[in-house]
């Protein structure tokens, strides 16, 4: 059987990639995709822990089902917020409102 640490390293690599995306990208959609990539990494770590530790096998799997459903729900909410942002600022770039505020203060 593959060692648990392999799965954990894979999960942390996905989390690291997601963090990179969240820090560098300015488009809201890219940031949402980054958040989902982080979520996928967390899921891999959770499932690996659940399967490798027989005591928490079913509890872990139940938890994963909950996490996946919550991920779907928060994506739907994020899309609504993004739609509102687009209506108000006519862009999906996070930096634009800040730039406008700085410009208006000057």
């Amino acid at each position: 059987m593959i060692p648990l640490s392999w799965y954990l390293v894979m999960a942390f690599m996905l989390i690291g990639l997601g963090i990179y995306g969240m820090v560098t990208k300015r488009s809201l959609i890219r940031i949402l995709i980054s958040a989902e990539i982080i979520g996928n990494g967390v899921n891999i770590a959770l499932v690996a822990f659940a399967i490798y530790n027989p005591v928490y096998s079913y509890v872990g799997q139940g938890l994963i089902i909950l996490v996946i459903s919550v991920a779907a729900a928060h994506t739907a909410l994020a899309m609504v917020l993004m739609l509102m942002y687009h209506r108000r600022y006519h862009t999906v770039d996070l930096g634009v409102p800040i730039a406008r505020e700085v410009h208006s203060n000057e």
Binding site: M1, I2, L4, S5, W6, Y7, L8, V9, M10, F12, M13, L14, I15, G16, L17, I19, Y20, V23, T24, K25, R26, S27, I29, R30, I33, S34, E36, I37, N40, N43, I44, V47, A48, A50, I51, N53, P54, V55, Y58, Q61, G62, I64, I65, L66, I68, S69, A71, A72, A73, T75, A76, L77, M79, V80, M82, M84, H90, V92, D93, G95
Partner: protein
């Protein structure tokens, strides 16, 4: 034979890991945002391969149904609904400094966590005296639906609350546009931008009634 199976499983793992990392990178860096969303959907479905390797087929099915079928489709619809999001030429590329900060931060996270994953004695924390439960689907279904229905109820409630919240936010935004919400929340809506096409009372007085003009 056992050694061959372990080798085969390791190769499978490395192959899936490579594909997942490549697709995740493409989802972040693909120039066209629609392609990025498609790459994300593909990545989510390949991640299900890890769950199959871990002998958790139900989670793998759920991953494909929710992430590939639901979330990535939602992102694609979102992109199609937002005209400014589709135009990749409008996207501001990260500066060298932001890229360096991102690389540094993610590098630190990956390095620290990978060290923890390799060094920490996970197996000693697991209780080996307990007999491993078989990973069959029927037992999981029985455990989830008959014994621990509260999980399913929490999921249902979460999704319901999110849907109600999303609809309410949309309605609030519409109400804010139509009339100022002074009394309830103490916030005032932003005035509509002046387009120069608004009719003033004076203008209305000046314009003669077409019927009267015809009679004259």
């Amino acid at each position: 034979m056992q050694g061959f199976e372990v080798l085969f499983e390791s190769i499978e793992f490395l192959l899936i890991a490579g594909i997942v990392l490549l697709l995740a990178y493409l989802a972040l860096e693909a120039k066209d945002i629609v392609y990025a969303a498609f790459f994300f959907g593909l990545m989510a479905s390949v991640v299900a391969g890890f769950f199959l390797l871990l002998e958790a087929p139900f989670i793998a099915g759920m991953q494909i149904a929710v992430y590939t079928g639901g979330i990535s489709a939602l992102i694609i619809f979102g992109v199609l609904l937002l005209p400014r999001a589709q135009d990749s030429s409008l996207e501001v590329l990260p500066t060298g400094r932001a890229r360096n900060v991102g690389l540094l931060l993610s590098g630190v996270v990956v390095a620290l966590s990978a060290t923890l994953a390799f060094v920490f004695p996970w197996y000693e924390t697991f209780d080996e005296s307990v007999v491993a439960i078989s990973q069959d689907l029927q037992a999981l279904a029985e455990w989830l639906w008959s014994g621990h229905g509260v999980y399913v109820q929490i999921i249902a409630l979460t999704i319901l609350v999110t849907l109600v919240g999303a609809i309410e936010i949309m309605k609030m935004e519409k109400a804010e546009r139509l009339s100022p919400l002074k009394a309830d929340f103490g916030i005032e809506a932003e005035p509509e931008p002046e387009t120069g096409l608004e009719k003033t009372e004076k203008d209305e007085e000046d314009v003669p009634d077409p019927e009267e003009a015809d009679n004259e």
